[in-house]
Symmetry: C2
Subunit: 426 residues, 2 copies
């Protein structure tokens, strides 16, 4: 294996998570060990930072600040939802990226993101090969949605379900103690096309008394009459009902159940931005079942809750960052680091390699046989799968004022070298 010497760029993309900075920390700490990696740059706002030539100099950051990334949620160097055009239609962005990489002697590029980011990374690998520019490009998995192909699970997922299961336990006690007036609660989770997040709240239900009592996932076509019957059944049994719904519920024609509502924007990737199914079903419960119903929607709080994040998840996110650097230094390019469940009991997780092409735009859903026959709760196989992912708690720093302490990088970007401005999408 030929030693490749030059600078390194790390970028974060898409919806940030509580532990994506643990991956960033892993990249920086591991990359610092290899003399062939000269300086470590953080692209400001994902691939936009490359296009605009805006780089944080992470090599210049104090070691304590890099270490503190493990307890700082969201993307410390910034993220974006920018999607590069299909290179068949316009190669401008890709060529700009290569121009910037060359100008800064970037020989290593680490991209933490989801399906779309792996697609971008894959296209960059191909372009670099065409241009005979020697660079090693590695993907680092990142998504609370847990829907990436080729990996057992995704960094970010364990933390979101640990926090949501805890929140369901807590809000469940609210419903339990106040059931004579506030009898039902609908709890809406993220998860656009896959129900992994909603399913994860099942971990809260240690007994039949515990919330949640019903969980609906996008994997099972949603039927309003059946939903109403389900809720009535739980009310007859327990006198209260706590319902978890994934935001992307669809009917038997594949239409979002919120499709008749208005105001849903379409994000830059062409996906529908959902929201509102919780409120919709709260109204259904009040009108059709006839009990008072509340709804909770934790929104972006759920994916950033480092204050009760999974230590297992954080360590795996870190490990994925470390592995990406190690593999690249040892000659690999064009892969995403995958998480491999090496052992079930005791749970043990190692890393593997998945080709970016296989991951790009792939999508992994909750298998139908991991959901009960009634389609309203995950089954034992899912529970076994999810349980080890939420163990342990990230130890955050709490200030004298009783609130967490996070780090933030000053926006002192390294000097530009390409000598021209660029407008993304050009």
């Amino acid at each position: 294996m030929e030693k490749l010497t030059g600078n390194c760029v790390v970028a974060q993309s898409g919806g940030p998570t509580a532990v994506i900075n643990a991956s960033l920390c892993g990249v920086v700490q591991e990359a610092s060990k290899y003399p062939e990696i000269k300086r470590i740059y953080g692209a400001h706002n994902g691939i936009l930072g490359v296009l605009l030539e805006e780089f944080y100099d992470l090599t210049a950051q104090p070691a304590e600040k890099i270490e503190a990334l493990k307890r700082t949620p969201s993307a410390a160097v910034g993220s974006c939802r920018y999607k590069l055009k299909d290179p068949e239609k316009s190669k401008a962005d890709y060529e700009r990226i290569m121009e910037v990489f060359k100008a800064h002697d970037v020989r290593y590029f680490f991209y933490a993101g989801g399906n779309d980011s792996m697609d971008t990374a894959d296209k960059l690998v191909k372009l670099a090969a065409e241009m005979k520019y020697d660079i090693r490009i590695m993907g680092i998995p990142k998504t609370i949605d847990n829907d990436l192909a080729e990996t057992d699970h995704c960094p970010g997922y364990g933390s979101v379900i640990k926090y949501l299961a805890t929140s369901v336990m807590e809000a469940g006690r609210d419903t339990e103690s106040l059931y004579t007036s506030d009898t039902a609660t609908v709890f809406e989770t993220m998860g656009r096309n896959a129900g992994w997040i909603a399913a994860g709240t099942a971990l809260a239900a240690r007994s039949r008394q515990d919330a949640p009592h019903l969980i609906y996932l996008p994997e099972v076509p949603f039927s309003l009459p059946k939903f109403i019957e389900d809720v009535k059944g739980v009310l007859r049994e327990l006198g209260r009902c706590f319902i978890v719904v994934g935001e992307g519920l669809v009917d038997d024609r594949g239409q979002y159940v919120t499709a008749q509502s208005t105001g849903f924007a379409v994000d830059a990737f062409g996906h529908r931005q959902l929201g509102g199914v919780g409120e919709l079903l709260q109204q259904v419960v009040e009108k059709e079942v006839g009990v008072k119903c509340r709804y909770n929607r934790l929104g972006t709080c759920q994916r950033q809750a480092i204050h009760f994040a999974s230590l297992t998840d954080s360590k795996e996110a870190y490990m994925a960052g470390v592995a990406a650097v190690r593999q690249a230094v040892h000659g690999k390019t064009g892969f995403m680091i995958s998480l491999v469940r090496a052992s079930e009991d005791p749970y043990k997780c190692t890393t593997g390699l998945a080709t970016l092409r296989d991951v790009a735009n792939g999508e992994k859903k909750v298998p139908r046989n991991w959901i009960n026959a009634a389609g309203n709760f995950p089954g034992a196989d899912f529970i076994s799968y999810a349980r080890p992912l939420i163990r342990g708690e990230v130890r955050i720093q709490v200030g004298d004022d009783g609130l967490p302490v996070f780090v933030r990088f000053e926006k002192n970007f390294i000097p530009k070298r390409t000598g021209r401005d660029y407008k993304p999408g050009g």
Copy 2:
């Protein structure tokens, strides 16, 4: 002071909080110390449990389970929103309560709740005096809304704002890292008529960079044009905007800004059940300001978040329970325990006594001069007031499965003694 011997009933009422069980724990542990208090009963579902003669025997519970109440959110013996009729119109419920108290030789009644509960307790004090039934009735303050009169602050408040400020910090980092696409966020808090909860999120803003950037309270008439200008101003300055809104925002005619929306139920106390202002303003930002906006609504999760609750708050909730028992044993009746800020720096809190009549249906709002002139952020006086209330973290128990462990009482009620069934509201 005459020694009064008999049994004791403790009840929890209204919307539960993360620390109302700490007050319950304080009552049980303190009451156990006095030989004149024979047995300690927990009324199932607040005053409903008295009317229906459903009592947990808390004396029979293991000491560890009582201690574990400090780390169990919501009302462990159940709560309710049941409002007794005006005794001028019907005394049936009041007479039933006295019947049950007599049958069970109840000589101490501790009622943890908000304004309405103190009103109920006050009426019971008067009725008992009329009937010459010797009983000591004490109120224990409980409301996340922090709107009770005659007390510096209310148990439950410190925990809700500690958790919400933390959630705002975390979601604020989401907005900060993704501002090129998801530029604004609206974060809706509870707080029906008073803005204490929304105001408390100001503690998250240690610097101008930090969320939240704008906070709107029901105390200041809400103007949509001014709101839009405020948001545009923050966007010009920072490129992103994080907005906190209390659920009960009103316009300059005192109308809820959500009044044109439909579906708001009226709860049993005749208050409007609010919700939806977050979504409304999210749509306003998208349409009128023209940037993508998310909204978060933590709902009942906010008031039960024992996993990141304020230790100061929990200790004060416990102290209020203890003080209620101590004062009653020493002859007091007809008072609510108040929290008294004995010292500012270092912060020190003691208990005092407020007459139930003064507290009943009183309401304390955020003073206008504790809010900035623009009406869009709390001022320094509020910050000084709120800061000490969130210090320290309640240490919860986390199971091997990575989730909190709470306690639950079996529904084994003590035998009935009145020999008749009763229908509340009769």
